[in-house]
Symmetry: C2
Subunit: 229 residues, 2 copies
DNA sequence: TAGATTGTTAATCGATTAACAATC
DNA sequence: TAGATTGTTAATCGATTAACAATC
């Protein structure tokens, strides 16, 4: 079945420079599949069982062939005529998504949205047994918030970012500051050493190529729906 | 310049059945362009000026040719050699996105995330002069919340949805309930007559074809970033 | 074996971009 | 006019899907 394609495929996984070639859509769906598998395991009350691509597809809102095609970028995990062993597949995806250990995240901007997200992610991920995204530091400019705690974490002034991010090995920064300050906050985060930024401020941020930037514009999500009414 | 293509193009805009052909990516970018234009107007302190596609592109994080191509789906708004008249373009986009009047939205699930979103959208849109998404009703199962108010809106029990949604002409429902109840809440919303759903619960919802469903999975947004670390 | 299902190739589909004539 | 910029066609690129041999 596999041919010299396999060599290429292995490169894709092992060589950091080529890794980038797998499209973000595929990666996002991999995260979706992981969720689907975990849900299935809870539902069935057991970890080990065989699941066909059709089931994973249904739970993830994609086509079965898409699921198999996506997997094929990373290796062969299934058995023809049988399906995928759920727990093995789950572990493979965890490895692919680098979720074998906890990943430290910092939140910048602890306003309405910021604090809601801290709680949301805290609840959502802390119940996982495998590596999860762990809120490790909160930052805010507002001097009034300085010293106050939230979900067991002190809110720190922005000046502490470089120090704290290095010290706690934080790799991802979630930005929920007002648009005006988002760019400078992003730069500070990058200087402090984060590798990825999840941005909720409705601006286009400029970051160096080696930084993974993901923006979620909650207004635009809503706004574009007008078209369909 | 334009040929018989124009006929087709007009259909696309005027015929509801064919309208659907314009891809969601285009529509989302239109919303982005609108934001960019409004920002520019604030920045310049004036409404009327000419802006080239390159500027709009930079502010929206896309290529200039993409901007022009996107516009071309809806008509010709610019002047060769000159650019686009900002305020006219803005108005055109507002018309395209159906934002000429306020659009009523209901929030279902007024927990952490839900209440943060209410405030977020409230602030974000209420300062606009043109039509905006207006929170008109809040719903929650929790009987303790019954009667309490939030941002000037009473929190109502789910049973009231059909009645209230019809009465207040609500067209969009934002769902921020736990995964388990998301599907039934969506069905209730659809029965109540909403035309679009913005879903934040991390599940795949099933809705009839005529309902526009948009899902934002905040966990997946974060989770897939592990890959790039 | 027969039925189910994978992994992969090739075909299709759609979206982005390059190139350029038309126009201000 | 010369330079700038649009709108559109055609080319490219990438992603999805159909088809099917291989395998359990």
């Amino acid at each position: 079945m596999k041919k010299e394609k396999e060599l290429l495929s292995e490169n894709v996984e092992e060589d950091d420079d080529i890794k980038i070639r797998i499209s973000q859509s595929v990666i996002k769906r991999m995260a979706l599949y992981l969720n689907a598998l975990e849900k299935l395991q809870v539902q069935k009350g057991q970890e080990s069982f065989f699941v066909p691509s059709t089931t994973i597809a249904r739970l993830s809102g994609v086509k079965a062939v898409q699921v198999r095609k996506d997997f094929s970028h990373f290796g062969t995990f299934g058995r023809p005529g049988v399906g995928y062993e759920a727990d093995n597949l789950r572990k493979q995806i965890i490895k692919i998504l680098n979720l074998t250990q906890n990943i430290g995240i910092a939140f910048v901007g602890i306003g309405q949205l910021g604090s809601a997200l801290v709680r949301y992610y805290y609840q959502r991920f802390s119940e996982r047994e495998h590596g999860y995204f762990e809120p490790r530091a909160l930052f805010d400019v507002d001097p009034e918030k300085k010293g106050t705690s939230f979900e067991g974490l002190k809110i720190l002034p922005l000046e502490k970012m470089p120090e704290v991010i290095k010290e706690l090995g934080i790799e991802v920064s979630v930005i929920t500051v007002p648009s005006d300050s988002a760019q400078e906050v992003a730069e500070l985060a990058v200087e402090s050493g984060v590798k990825a930024i999840l941005n909720f401020a409705p601006v286009i941020l400029e970051v160096p190529d080696h930084i993974k930037l993901q923006s979620v514009d909650l207004s635009t999500e809503l706004e574009h729906m007008g078209y369909y009414l």
